[in-house]
Symmetry: C2
Subunit: 237 residues, 2 copies
């Protein structure tokens, strides 16, 4: 199976870096508040961040008292930036989440922000993560909402066109460059995959931008028409 | 609070009776298979069916060995038909689910098919149901999917237009007659309300019609573009 590492495409990376530095994206207004609301106190925890990108969350977990933080990302360009974080608790591994080998039961918390919609086989990934986790270990992740991945080009002037919701599989989308591959599955597919892998679902959020955020950044109004993200907390049983 | 009892509107009732007898609706192709897949063996169970309509499920539960079955529906026209079912285990109560008084811990299984999208206050309803249920009692229900209740007139030739997903509250829709009131909330609102009321989520399904069903009834193809129903199993903790 060849996997896509679009973040090492120069043109994509430039566009993405611009997006993050201007923060015109979903990250600060919608994703981060929802993810954070589901996180346990990380003091003393062994944390893994899948799709860590520039490593900002890894740094934050370490500064908040995590005993160890492993950031995982397939993009060398991203990790070059991330490695400037010089904290003894933080290490980075280059690779796809699916390929990372960690000892059984060696992790207390797995976090992932907006990466799992790039993963083809969620069953395999969740089962893999489950083996890393200690008893009662926690998985908190966000992904693009299935209402969006179903028909990624669904934006209309007055809402969002949903189509092909039950056609699972790859979608070729455009984001800075053409041919960014994402994988669509339904909300119930995600919930069922977690149960099969040995997780109990604790929370399922569809975060929305606050009215203030929309006033500040009118482009966020789109995210009041349909759910942009699915944010989930699950505990290993 | 005045609640709507649209099923006692003569014109509505006539249209609905026709729909059910022709079975051109969602019931047999999508709703019933999903609900049934989540039901426990009802032998010896005390069952309540909220929005029982013509009472067909009540009859089926009794014939399958339930020790008692209470059908609840606000529509006198519906219950007139339902009362023709003459089985000692089956009784019917006319009323809205929110108003029914049953002894604490007196029920093993609460089932509801396509009624909860008419309910304004899901928190109150779930809390109410929770008091009826014995320890480890089960709630299985289906409702219109939030992707549909958000913008009930979203049907386009090539999909479904989702809008106003985060504007909770009443929607005035047309179904046989104008002014059928439904209440919109998000998927995550439903999941959160269950947790607040003391339930653990066991399963969350977004059922789709089978390819064979779509071949037999091409009008069902619409239900491949977006999820039509949300079907949930939750256990009292």
């Amino acid at each position: 199976m060849t996997r896509q590492n679009i973040y090492d495409d120069a043109e994509f990376f430039e566009g993405y870096e611009r997006l993050r530095s201007e923060d015109s994206g979903l990250n600060s207004a919608i994703d981060q508040p929802a993810l954070t609301s589901l996180l346990p106190d990380v003091t003393g925890l062994r944390v893994v961040d899948l799709g860590c990108g520039f490593g900002t969350s890894c740094r934050d977990f370490a500064l908040a008292g995590a005993s160890s933080v492993v950031g995982v990302d397939p993009s060398e360009r991203m990790l070059e930036v991330a490695r400037r974080i010089d904290l003894p608790a933080v290490t980075f591994i280059r690779g796809f989440a699916e390929d990372v080998a960690l000892p059984t039961g060696s992790v207390d918390l797995v976090v992932s922000s907006l990466a799992f919609h790039y993963v083809e086989d969620l069953d395999a990934l969740f089962t893999h993560i489950r083996t890393w986790l200690a008893q009662s270990g926690v998985l908190v992740f966000s992904m693009e909402h299935p209402v969006i991945t179903a028909s990624p080009d669904g934006r209309l002037t007055s809402g969002w066109l949903v189509r092909d919701y039950f056609s699972r599989g790859r979608r070729d989308t455009s984001w800075f460059v053409n041919g960014v591959n994402k994988y669509h599955r339904t909300v119930s597919d995600v919930v069922a995959a977690l149960a099969r892998a040995g997780f109990v679902l604790d929370a399922l959020l569809e975060p929305e931008p606050s009215r203030e955020a929309v006033t500040d950044q009118p482009s966020l109004a789109l995210h009041l028409d349909r759910p942009a993200l699915l944010v989930i907390k699950a505990t290993a049983r």
